[in-house]
């Protein structure tokens, strides 16, 4: 999904390259910093209780021996990796959880892409590794990445708990009601969506430590 061009984001650069330029650039940067703070506060109101409910379900699953599988593409693949490493190697004294980020094994990823198709790279790994009661966390800023959607469908088929982080209006993941816990960041900026998603999954991890008690 594309964003507006720099001409739209920084009109003053194209109208005016005089001494005021620095001040405009400074102000627009400060606006972006303010924007993510406001967005996080809005999400706290909308999703506070739902994060707690999701954390309760995840903590219960982990108590029963669930493993965590995470997936996403591009920047979201690095978030998937961060979700996995936060749960697997948490700040002390938290208890580590078995977690695997599905975009990390390049041999598996390239084999599946070459032989089956990129749309199935996460679904096929879940079919092989996933069990009833495990947890799947998928991230997609557009909510429309086919390989993330296919993985969610596979996780559902296996009886896993499914959690999705998406942006914009939630895309296909929201329309098709594909996941048990869905968190939509209502922004049109990929950057702000990713920044807010990082906070959401960090807070989700924190809440799993108290089984959803965020008071």
């Amino acid at each position: 999904m594309s964003e507006p061009g720099l001409e739209t984001l920084y009109p003053f650069l194209y109208a005016d390259t005089g001494p005021d330029c620095h001040d405009h650039l400074r102000r627009s940067t400060q606006d972006k910093i303010a924007e993510i703070i406001t967005l996080r506060q809005e999400l706290a109101g909308v999703y506070g209780q739902r994060l707690a409910a999701c954390a309760y379900d995840m903590a219960t699953a982990f108590d029963h021996g669930a493993r965590l599988f995470t997936f996403g593409n591009g920047g979201s693949s690095t978030d998937a990796q961060d979700v996995a490493q936060t749960f697997a190697h948490p700040p002390a004294p938290a208890r580590p959880v078995a977690a695997i980020s599905l975009a990390q094994d390049v041999a598996v990823l390239t084999a599946l892409s070459n032989d089956v198709g990129y749309d199935r790279v996460f679904a096929r790994q879940l079919a092989a590794l996933g069990r009833h009661g495990d947890v799947a966390v998928g991230l997609s800023t557009s909510g429309g990445s086919p390989n993330v959607l296919n993985a969610m469908a596979e996780a559902r088929r296996l009886g896993m708990l499914t959690v999705g982080f998406v942006g914009y209006d939630g895309g296909k993941m929201a329309q098709d009601d594909l996941v048990d816990h869905l968190f939509v960041v209502p922004s049109t900026s990929v950057h702000r969506i990713q920044e807010a998603q990082t906070t959401l999954y960090h807070v989700l991890w924190e809440l799993t430590q108290t089984r959803g008690d965020g008071s």
Binding site: R26, I33, I36, I37, G75, T78, T199, H202, W205
Partner: protein, 188 residues
């Protein structure tokens, strides 16, 4: 919810660093203009950030923006564990920089705690080799570094530091492109 409230202070404090961010981006644009590439590194959660920074520059989110050369030093487990076995974990980034870096390049070292020995050594090595060095640090008391640009997310919570770092490197990408397109927009 308390978890969200704890994020407001460190997020707002970033406003005080806007001039530093603008200066770093102007220098980064200068290096890209000279043909330099971006090399990024970090540990744990910051390793995921290093990879995010690299993909941000190589595969721009805004259609039509030029791809800029960038790579992260944490992708190849064989390379990293091989160097760690013989040279030690503290040398995993410096050793790769000595092989891959050119003097026109940019090194971005990320450390949420601000005290990672291998990141500090990587930045020192990069500086000796002539690279522009940018440190993305965090923690209550980040270590001193000789990096050209030190950008700090002040929080003792590494998860909150990471969230501020994501905003910082998104701004680094966007503003570097602004300075590349508009060299007359001089930072102060």
């Amino acid at each position: 919810m308390d978890a969200f409230e704890r994020r407001v202070g460190p997020g707002s404090a970033l406003s005080d660093a806007v001039d530093q961010i603008l200066r770093a981006c102007q220098d980064m644009a200068g290096r890209f203009r000279q043909g330099g590439k971006l090399i990024v590194f970090g540990n744990g959660g910051s390793a995921t950030d290093a990879q995010h920074v690299a993909v941000e520059f190589v595969h721009p989110v805004i259609v039509g923006k030029p791809a800029l050369p960038a790579l992260s030093l944490t992708n190849d487990a064989a390379m990293v564990t091989g160097i760690a076995r013989t040279e030690g974990l503290d040398d995993i980034f410096a050793a790769q920089l000595r092989l891959l870096a050119s003097p026109d390049d940019i090194a971005v070292g990320i450390s949420a705690a601000g005290d990672c020995a291998n990141v500090l050594r990587g930045l020192d090595t990069a500086r000796e080799l002539g690279l522009l060095t940018v440190a993305l640090f965090g923690g209550a008391e980040p270590r001193q570094t000789a990096a050209d640009h030190l950008l700090v997310a002040r929080s003792a919570d590494p998860l909150i530091v990471k969230e501020v770092h994501v905003t910082i490197y998104h701004l680094l990408w966007e503003l570097t492109h602004v300075y590349l397109e508009q060299p007359s927009a001089v930072a102060r």
